[in-house]
């Protein structure tokens, strides 16, 4: 044996043990935050959870109340945003996967779409403020819905394209060989085969926008009253949490924690369902 080689072996083994321990520690560190954040949310928010939260309006400071109007407002904004963003995103994804798989336009759109996917959401809010709120002269629920729709589009484009690409070409060829026109082939066969994946994408988009606050701050703003007029400022759960959490009133802060708990578990449930759906789609 070469002299000193046992020392070298020991040093290498030691270095390996240390780095493996560090990687284990890093994983514990990462998981620790998840447990810590969810734990605090449950601890602070669970006590405030009652039927009243879902049936009463937001209270003035010092009074009793719930979160009914922001919850309904959020549902309305989310539904509208999905209704606007999903068709647009699906059609764009369809073009990229079916018609222009290799053309220049698809390459550029794919690149731009990926950038939009992680663009800062506050910038989207400023954009919608400039094109809708400023010309209209007032904040409105419509503007909030459009801002959220701009966030939905890239998510749906991405998943639609990916899922349609997974549809085997033999299916397309089979359809073409019996004379099915292309548009019918896409809508009847492509969409049907990619259904689970596309629904996953929409669910992920909903999960993404239901917690978004920044783009709503200066589009749909907030509304203390139970107004559901989309042409006026409208309350939404994230913005109400923002306002209540930063207020000096203890009961508002408590409601903010409860709202935070509701949003977080909704979002987490949505993303877990989406994942399960995607996994089952891959197996079949």
């Amino acid at each position: 044996m070469v002299p000193g080689s046992t020392k070298l072996y020991a040093a290498r083994r030691r270095r390996n043990t240390i780095s493996m321990a560090l990687s284990l520690a890093a994983t514990a560190f990462g998981l620790g935050w998840l447990v810590l954040i969810l734990g605090v949310l449950l601890y602070e928010g669970f006590g405030g959870l009652s039927l009243k939260v879902f049936t009463e309006m937001t209270p003035p400071p010092g009074a009793d109340g719930g979160l009914l109007n922001p919850i309904l407002g959020s549902l309305m904004l989310t539904a509208l945003a999905v209704a606007i963003g999903t068709p647009l995103g699906m059609l764009a994804g369809t073009y990229m996967a079916e018609y222009g798989r290799h053309d220049r336009l698809s390459t550029v759109v794919r690149f731009i779409n990926d950038i939009l996917l992680s663009a800062p959401s506050i910038v989207i809010g400023l954009f919608v403020y400039e094109i809708m709120v400023a010309p209209m002269g007032h904040f409105s629920g419509w503007a909030g819905a459009v801002a959220l729709a701009v966030i939905v589009v890239p998510v749906v484009v991405r998943t639609t394209e990916d899922m349609l690409r997974l549809v085997p070409d033999t299916l397309r060829e089979a359809a073409a060989s019996i004379g099915v026109p292309r548009s019918l082939m896409i809508t009847r066969i492509g969409y049907r085969a990619a259904k689970a994946g596309i629904i996953t994408g929409v669910l992920l988009a909903i999960a993404r926008i239901s917690g978004e606050t920044a783009p709503l701050l200066f589009t749909s703003l907030n509304n203390q009253f139970d107004s559901f007029n989309l042409n006026a400022p409208i309350a939404s759960l994230p913005v109400v949490i923002f306002q209540f959490a930063l207020s000096p009133y203890a009961d508002w802060q408590k409601l903010a924690w409860t709202g935070a708990l509701i949003i977080t578990f909704t979002v987490l449930a949505l993303s877990i369902v989406a994942r399960a759906l995607a996994a089952s789609g891959k197996q079949s």
Partner: protein, 330 residues
């Protein structure tokens, strides 16, 4: 010519004119559908172009009034209407830097754990749990940061930091001043937790894409796990890892709500990391609805334009790197 079609198991014959009519209609439908999808694809480009144009138009008055000085002026005074972006830009850069300093090594370590060390059965659940961190809305990080994390730092961590670096030159000014709890360091730490899942999941995916043959050859030569990761996996996956890091950086730069809660919103540049500061996105979120006067609003939109341009460049680079590694694997 006679066409035969099957309707509900019954053969139906149709005559020629109706056949060509049907075919014509189908062809027309095809063209319409193709152009609608093409229009939707173009709409994605229009959205991005629209963001650029709308921000540039909104920022124009401020850029005209201050010129390039806007970028290097620290003053931010709504009363005298003098605005400069230096303090928010500085805050954005420093908080993102702190976040990356922590999240990159930790994220890579977790990716190493998930691809090399973790038992097969646990890989998926742990991977999903880490990714769930990315699903938590940023406002939740904000409220948690303000009420739980900042007080904890104020009471336990920051006094220790101040005491530890008191007599170290250079570092003492980084950790100087009273422990507020909120401030640049707190914002950076929360950002680190937020971008961790992005870096982890992309690194894990590119680590997984390293050909097993390469790793097994190295193991066969007697390399330890660490040596395999350090000398085989990392060099092979380098471009992809850098892409993932840039993607995380793009997130950190633009993150708004979490930072707004904990940074303290002070338009000044302090040497100390414990002092309150501000970032581009936090300034916009805090001041936009209260901004009076066109110049104030326009200056805030100019901040948004700067943020958008910076993140655009970072994200474009990230995508370019990830495309490169995808091409190599595919």
């Amino acid at each position: 010519m006679v066409d035969v079609a099957l309707y509900g198991g019954r053969a139906v014959t149709t005559d020629v004119p109706s056949r060509s009519r049907t075919l014509g209609r189908l062809r027309l439908n095809d063209i319409i559908f193709r152009n609608i999808t093409r229009g939707a694809a173009l709409a994605v480009l229009v959205i991005l172009g629209g963001v650029m144009i709308a921000l540039a138009a909104g920022a124009w008055p401020a850029l005209q009034a201050f010129g390039l000085n806007f970028l290097i002026e620290e003053r931010w005074n709504p009363v005298t209407e003098r605005f400069g972006a230096l303090a928010p830009i500085y805050g954005t850069v420093v908080t993102s830097l702190i976040a990356m300093l922590i999240a990159v090594p930790v994220g890579l370590m977790i990716a190493m754990f998930l691809t090399e060390l973790c038992p097969m059965k646990l890989r998926r659940p742990i991977g999903i749990a880490i990714e769930l961190l990315a699903g938590i809305p940023s406002i939740i990080y904000g409220i948690w940061g303000l009420f739980v994390f900042a007080p904890f730092l104020q009471q336990h961590v920051q006094p220790a930091l101040i005491a530890a670096f008191e007599n170290v030159p250079a570092l003492s000014s980084l950790f100087a001043g009273p422990p507020y709890g909120i401030g640049v360091l707190t914002a950076g730490l929360i950002l680190a937790i937020m971008v961790l899942p992005f870096i982890t999941s992309i690194s894990r995916d590119v680590f997984d894409a390293v050909p097993p043959m390469l790793k097994e050859s190295a193991y066969g030569l007697g390399c330890t796990t660490w040596e395999v990761v350090r000398h085989v996996v990392l060099p092979y996956a380098r471009v992809g890892v850098i892409g993932g890091v840039m993607l995380g950086l793009g997130r950190a730069l633009g993150e708004t709500m979490a930072v707004t809660f904990v940074i303290g919103n002070a338009h000044r540049i302090s040497a100390s990391l414990l002092a309150p500061g501000t970032t581009i996105s936090a300034t916009i979120a805090n001041e936009f609805t209260e901004a009076v006067g066109d110049l104030y609003t326009s200056s805030l939109i100019a901040l948004g334009l700067i943020l958008f341009v910076i993140t655009f460049i970072v994200l474009a680079l990230a995508r370019y790197m990830l495309l490169r590694i995808e091409r190599r694997i595919g």
